[in-house]
């Protein structure tokens, strides 16, 4: 990877961090409502994996911590922020919110609130791809908590049985909401849980984007060429709460601090500094430009966008075609 791409990746991770931090501010200012689940600490996962996919062509689906997956898939950050603000210009026209981002134009097929709900959807995209005979793949990002749902086991079985081209990415951040993995799950190594379904699997560091990309490249290639599922577990950690209403009582400050030392942006920045790819001055300039863009373009766009019209409340319940028509 050349220096230009390395700088771009560093910028993407930093942008993701600043975007999420700005969301938290907007939430406290009540410009964003509902539930808000932020991604700081896990940036290398979505950005590293999707760097090795064909974004815009491969189909991507995830849970409710979905902002960065949507951005890396190619969603316009203005449409994302506008959605969080509940505006008509949002990616889901203000009907979805933080947990339900959609952009079918870039094949980002959604964020979903039900834990484990996207497993079968991802396999369904792969089934449609299989019927069409095209070479896209389906990529499903979910947390370790999702693997205790029935949909995990049912979908792994069918995806393997039917040779569906789907890449399952498990972002293992060690907690299902506020319950530690060893308190909810017998086998804490998630990649081992697909062995009975005869799915190839691996586990790697999710904090070092170079490691993530290395594993993701192999995984994507495997699924694309063999037209079979693959399961990749990324060991990661969220530096903020599960959502904005998180007491934090379930983990120690020391543990959070320990993981903060392995912040994916810090790791990558240090590497690029040491290699002379980027300087401290450049990094600060990059950060300032990001903050300017978020404030003056993105948040401004969201704030100034119109609300959905009340008279449109029943639009989109059904598709806008003549009722009962066909063809």
């Amino acid at each position: 990877m050349d220096a230009t791409d390395q700088k771009r990746l560093l910028r993407e991770m930093l942008f993701a961090r600043r975007f999420e931090e700005r969301c938290a501010e907007a939430y406290h200012e009540r410009q964003i409502g509902g539930f808000l689940h932020l991604y700081p600490g896990e940036e290398a996962c979505a950005i590293g994996v999707l760097e090795k996919a064909r974004t815009g062509s491969d189909y991507v689906v995830t849970g409710y911590r979905d902002h960065i997956h949507a951005l890396k898939s190619g969603m316009d950050p203005k449409a994302l922020m506008a959605e969080l603000f509940g505006k008509e210009t949002g990616c889901s026209k203000g009907r979805g919110g933080s947990m339900h981002l959609f952009d079918p134009d870039v094949h980002f097929m959604g964020g979903y609130a039900l834990v484990g709900g996207p497993f079968p959807l991802a396999a369904g995209f792969a089934k449609a791809i299989q019927l069409r005979g095209s070479d896209e793949i389906s990529i499903c990002f979910l947390g370790d908590g999702a693997n205790n749902q029935g949909t995990f086991h049912e979908t792994m079985n069918m995806a393997s049985l039917w040779n569906l081209p789907v890449l399952f990415i498990c972002e293992n951040n060690l907690y299902g909401i506020g319950t530690a993995i060893e308190r909810s799950t017998v086998e804490i190594n998630q990649y081992k849980r697909v062995a009975p379904y005869k799915i190839e699997a691996a586990q790697c560091d999710g904090q070092d984007i170079d490691v993530v990309m290395d594993h993701a490249e192999k995984a994507v290639q495997y699924v694309r060429e063999k037209r079979k599922p693959y399961f990749l577990e990324l060991m990661t950690y969220r530096l903020r709460g599960h959502s904005m209403s998180d007491s934090g009582a379930y983990r120690s400050k020391e543990e959070v601090e320990e993981w903060a030392q392995r912040d994916p942006i810090g790791i990558y920045k240090r590497r690029l500094l040491e290699a002379g790819v980027v300087s401290e001055d450049e990094f600060h300039a990059m950060d300032k430009a990001i903050l300017d863009e978020i404030e003056n373009e993105i948040v401004r766009f969201a704030a100034e966008s119109p609300e959905p019209r009340l008279e449109d409340i029943a639009r989109y319940v059904y598709t806008e075609k003549e009722a009962g028509s066909h063809g």
């Binding site: 079968p120 089934k127 019927l131 069918m158 059904y318 598709t319 028509s325």
Partner: protein, 326 residues
Amino acid sequence: MAEMMYWQGILRAHDEEMARDPLVFAMGEDIGVAGGTYKATSGLFAKYGEQRVIDTPISENSYTGIGVGAAMIGARPIVEIMSVNFAWLAMDQLMNNAAKIHYMSGGRIRCPFVMRVPGGTAHQLGAQHSARMEKVFMGISGLRVVTPATPRDAYGLLKSAVRCDDPVVIIEHESMYNLKGEIPDEEFFTPLEGVEVMRPGKDVSIFAYNISVHWALDAAQKLAQDYGIDAEVVDLRALKPMDRAGIAASVRKTHRAVVVEEDEAPVGVGSEVVAILNEECFFDLDAAPVRVHALDVPIPYNRHLEKAAIPNAGEVVAAVRKMLGR
């Protein structure tokens, strides 16, 4: 015009749609090699192969979700659930995903998903194979729910459902797969909305759907023969969205209404129709509307108890006579 059985109508619709569009596919338990519990997919496996006629494991929620996902990117799944009780297991994918994706994506993602499922009581199958879940499906925004009462509509509703860009639940009936009826030779589509007057009449409107249409028709015949009462039988057919104008139009003519449902009364088709009558044409009514419905019990195994739990044509006749005082 050919006489066909209900299951043959469903099979013909599958076959025509699968032949027309390579992205139409069928999934369900035992639908392929075994030919389907109700024969409604028999022969399709040999004709279209295992990629498009898929025998699933017994994992209702996730194969429903696989169908939903495939529909989201342009395929046209027809998912068969073997018995309506099993659809409870698929409610997460049906209700949280299929029904809501179009709305919560601001209309950007369509979900042309079809679920076929037999409902109703059959022959001593017990409480866990005799559910009537229309009240549940019709309470979910974003779904369409239709119930064919005849072989013609079993064919025509599936044809329309496959072509529709919204998720559609088709509730068939365990006891009607061998029902015979005329189906036109040429292709046709039964609308997914609107009632159909099955027998015009002037004294009372009997609203029914699915198997209760047959109880209503039998009752109407007896009422005419034995009591000189001219009943109109209206097949509700589409339970969601329900045809409010069609329901009111019949009652504006007859001024009386009886609703017949195989389901328990609390919460359901009967209560919804009565509410619609209140809202749309209260002052056209000459009598308080009446519901004929199943008892509010889990369906018992014993055949006498089972029979007593669900309504029949005789109960419809009695309800109409009581209403008219004849």
